[in-house]
């Protein structure tokens, strides 16, 4: 049993310290959590993501108070009740819709920052893997949320995506029905996706965020040059007042001050989109109520899934599914496929430099083609881009193995 001072006033600093070790917590998690000084604004994307998730959570709580998970009522509860009867309901909805889209933009920036600076390597593998788990969880969260307004795109996207689980020639229709709870998307389907969206997946996301932060603590955050240094020694320098010489800064308040500034700029853009340009995040097709008898002319996912959709689409059913599965998991393998010992920005890494930019542009092309109807020439371009994507990943171990040690 630890020692507790009988005279400590309840909730006084001493009292709390004896029970919660608040001083230690504060030191470990904030004032002596060391971040490299040699960073740019891209290092703030993690906090920007956390803040966006916070916006989604808060707006989601307000929407949840009026949303009706019922196939007869869902559409009007979103488009009428929330949009015109609930005070500022439109604001919460637009924050939620725009937030869901923008969060993926930031996730992709965050991911490509990690890839560019080699922040997934040697000691940082778990940061990458937990981040990828978060990506999957966010994808599931986005998809399940997209079902809820029960518009035409909700219904037909639900139909198409759940159909993927039939596994092409495997004809696993039983599995598809089990997932849907019915032969076609219906009440059971809506209810379970509602549960996933508001409970199970958010819980998983919160857990994964904590895990993601945890994986950062020991290897520490990477820096702009991939330089490896002794964090303890640099921290001592800082504490001794050699702030200029030290290569680190404390998370709070120094790193945080820049984060908050970047977040401010980000939120100006965010709310500009919420008020003046929200249409990109809310597909017009989804403002027609779900109609099982009428397939929309074009069915396409939201922009952030388009690249993987386009890896599925140009091939025959079975090959397409295999390519699609490959695209879903291959990013997880990045720390193990990259055989180079170098932790450095891509620009200094020989062929990897080209690999990085080709991957980025290729995924951009896949994204464009994923939304367009698969006719000439778009179908062909999409096919070539999908093949290039696969080749890039197969080539990765070879081109990184030949990389010279810096």
């Amino acid at each position: 049993m630890a020692h507790f001072d009988e005279n400590a006033k309840p909730f006084s600093h001493k009292w709390l310290n004896e029970r919660l070790a608040v001083d230690t917590l504060k030191r470990v998690l904030s004032t002596e959590y060391w971040i490299p000084k040699n960073i740019n604004f891209l290092w703030a994307m993690g906090m920007v993501l956390a803040a966006t998730f916070g916006m989604l959570l808060i707006s989601g709580i307000f929407l949840l108070m009026y949303y009706q998970p019922n196939t007869q009522l869902a559409f009007d509860s979103v488009n009428y009740t929330i949009m015109s009867e609930v005070g500022y309901g439109w604001l919460w909805r637009h924050i939620h819709g725009v937030g869901a889209s923008v969060v993926f933009l930031i996730i992709y920036i965050h991911m490509f920052t990690g890839i560019y600076y080699g922040s997934y390597k040697r000691g940082r593998e778990l940061i990458w893997l937990s981040g990828m788990l978060l990506f999957v969880a966010f994808s599931a969260e986005a998809f399940s949320g997209y079902m809820l307004p029960w518009g035409q795109m909700s219904y037909w996207a639900g139909m198409v995506i759940t159909n993927l689980f039939s596994g092409g020639s495997l004809h696993a229709t039983g599995l598809v029905e089990w997932i849907r709870g019915d032969y076609v998307p219906s009440q059971a389907f809506l209810n379970r996706f509602f549960m996933l969206h508001v409970l199970l997946i958010p819980l998983a996301i919160i857990g994964l965020i904590v895990f993601h932060f945890g994986t950062l603590r020991i290897p520490h955050v990477n820096n702009q040059d991939g330089e490896e240094f002794d964090f303890d020694a640099e921290a001592e320098k800082w504490k001794a007042g050699q702030k200029k010489e030290s290569k680190v800064i404390p998370f709070n308040p120094v790193f945080l001050s820049k984060d908050v500034f970047v977040m401010g700029v980000y939120f100006i853009l965010f709310f500009f989109l919420v008020f003046y340009n929200f249409e990109f995040a809310m597909d017009p097709v989804n403002f027609d109520p779900a109609n099982p008898l009428k397939t929309p002319t074009h069915i396409y996912p939201e922009w952030y899934f388009l690249w993987s959709y386009e890896i599925l689409r140009p091939f025959s059913t079975n090959i397409g599914l295999i390519a699609f599965a490959f695209a879903q998991v291959i990013f997880f393998a990045l720390p193990f496929l990259d055989r180079s010992p170098n932790v450095a920005p891509a620009s200094r890494r020989g062929p990897f430099k080209y690999w990085f930019w080709i991957l980025l542009v290729d995924m951009l092309i896949l994204t464009f083609m994923g939304k367009l109807p698969p006719v000439k020439p778009w179908g062909t371009i999409g096919y070539v881009a999908a093949v290039i994507f696969i080749i890039l990943w197969i080539a990765l171990p070879f081109i990184t193995k030949s990389e010279k040690k810096l």
Binding site: D76, Y80, S84, G264, I268, F275, F280, F287, F368, K371
Partner: protein, 341 residues
């Protein structure tokens, strides 16, 4: 400086991404239809009409239509009309204002051809283009009267509203009360335009409009919760909709949030000539004037995007907050990073 360079690259990629998945994709997915300004150039020019002669000729219209502004009631109610024709013929009070005169006159001579709708219920109703022009001239006068009535009624309602506000102790300035009046008048006109142009085939449930008119205010029986009047209305509406669906091939869609489901450009060109956007559709060319279309659109925006005004008035406050927040954060950041390099 390096930060700005990186920001430039990130922003460039984000903009390319946006261009590809939004403007570019939409330009490829939807065919382009030229908007012709509700001019109906494919139709014959019409001679000058004489409203006096038109009044006599228009007497036969009342065989099917009501003309409330001229004190003429419909010979049959909506249910009986839909049983006879498949659809309830419109009240013609506003026809002279809502319909382009060239379209209107040509329409009277050959409705099926001019509407581009193969099974249009109305038979040819004018012997010559001159007769048609006379009828149109008459309906233009009727429409003026109809508009005046709408305005007076709306003003009365608005003034009562202002009085009520004042009585309950709320201060209403002159400019505010003027705004209330002008808004009420505008809303009333927009709704009448919608009712004339769309309202017998399309419902608008967010505007509480059905093909049979406004949803009536009914009260359930207090002991049982049964609302017989509501059930009666729903039964009638159902019967009407079944007839309508038979006549049109399917039940025309509810237009509550059509302004968000279709682009502005699509709506405009579709209303101007439905066959261009949706070949084979049963929707007739309605022949609206530009002014008439704007009013219909005004009504559709009021049900489909009711938060527009609030959104525009809230935006500067929220964005202003974050601008100030960012400036303060910048100050904090600079003070924290001072002397670190």
């Amino acid at each position: 400086m390096k930060d700005l360079k990186i920001l430039g690259i990130v922003v460039a990629f984000a903009l390319i991404l946006y261009y590809g998945v939004e403007p570019f994709a939409h330009s490829q997915m939807h065919k382009h239809v030229e908007f012709k300004g509700f001019k109906y150039k494919d139709l014959k020019d019409i001679p000058k009409g004489d409203p006096k002669k038109g009044e006599t000729l228009a007497a036969s219209c009342a065989g099917c239509h009501s003309i409330k502004a001229a004190g003429m009631k419909a010979p049959m109610d909506a249910m009986a009309s839909s049983a006879a024709y498949g659809v309830n013929p419109p009240d013609l009070s506003l026809a002279g204002k809502m319909l382009d005169e060239k379209f209107f006159a040509n329409f009277l001579v050959n409705p099926a051809k001019v509407t581009k709708s193969k099974h249009f219920a109305m038979p040819p109703s004018a012997g010559s283009l001159q007769d048609a022009a006379d009828i149109v001239a008459y309906f233009k006068e009727v429409a003026k009267k109809a508009e005046e009535t709408t305005e007076t009624e709306a003003k009365k309602i608005a003034n009562e509203k202002v009085e009520k506000l004042k009585k309950s102790g709320i201060k209403v300035s002159d400019s505010q009360s003027k705004e209330i009046v002008s808004k009420t008048v505008k809303n009333a006109k927009n709704k009448e335009a919608f009712v004339f142009a769309c309202g017998r085939c399309h419902a608008n449930r967010y505007g509480k409009w059905t093909q049979l008119g406004d949803v009536p205010k009914t009260k359930p029986d207090i002991n049982t919760g049964v609302d017989l009047a509501k059930i009666d209305f729903q039964k009638n509406l159902g019967a009407y909709q079944i007839k309508l669906a038979k006549y049109m091939g399917k039940l025309p869609p509810d237009l509550s949030i059509i302004v968000r489901a279709r682009s502005e450009d699509y709506l405009k060109t579709f209303v101007e000539d439905p066959q261009t956007q949706l070949p084979g559709t049963a929707m007739p060319r309605v022949g609206l004037t530009n002014e008439g279309y704007e009013e219909v659109l005004g009504y559709l925006e009021s049900t489909g995007d009711p938060s527009k005004e609030k959104r525009e008035s809230t935006a500067p406050w929220v964005i202003g907050f974050f601008v100030i927040f960012t400036l303060l954060a910048y100050g904090w950041y600079k003070s924290q990073w001072k002397g670190l390099h």
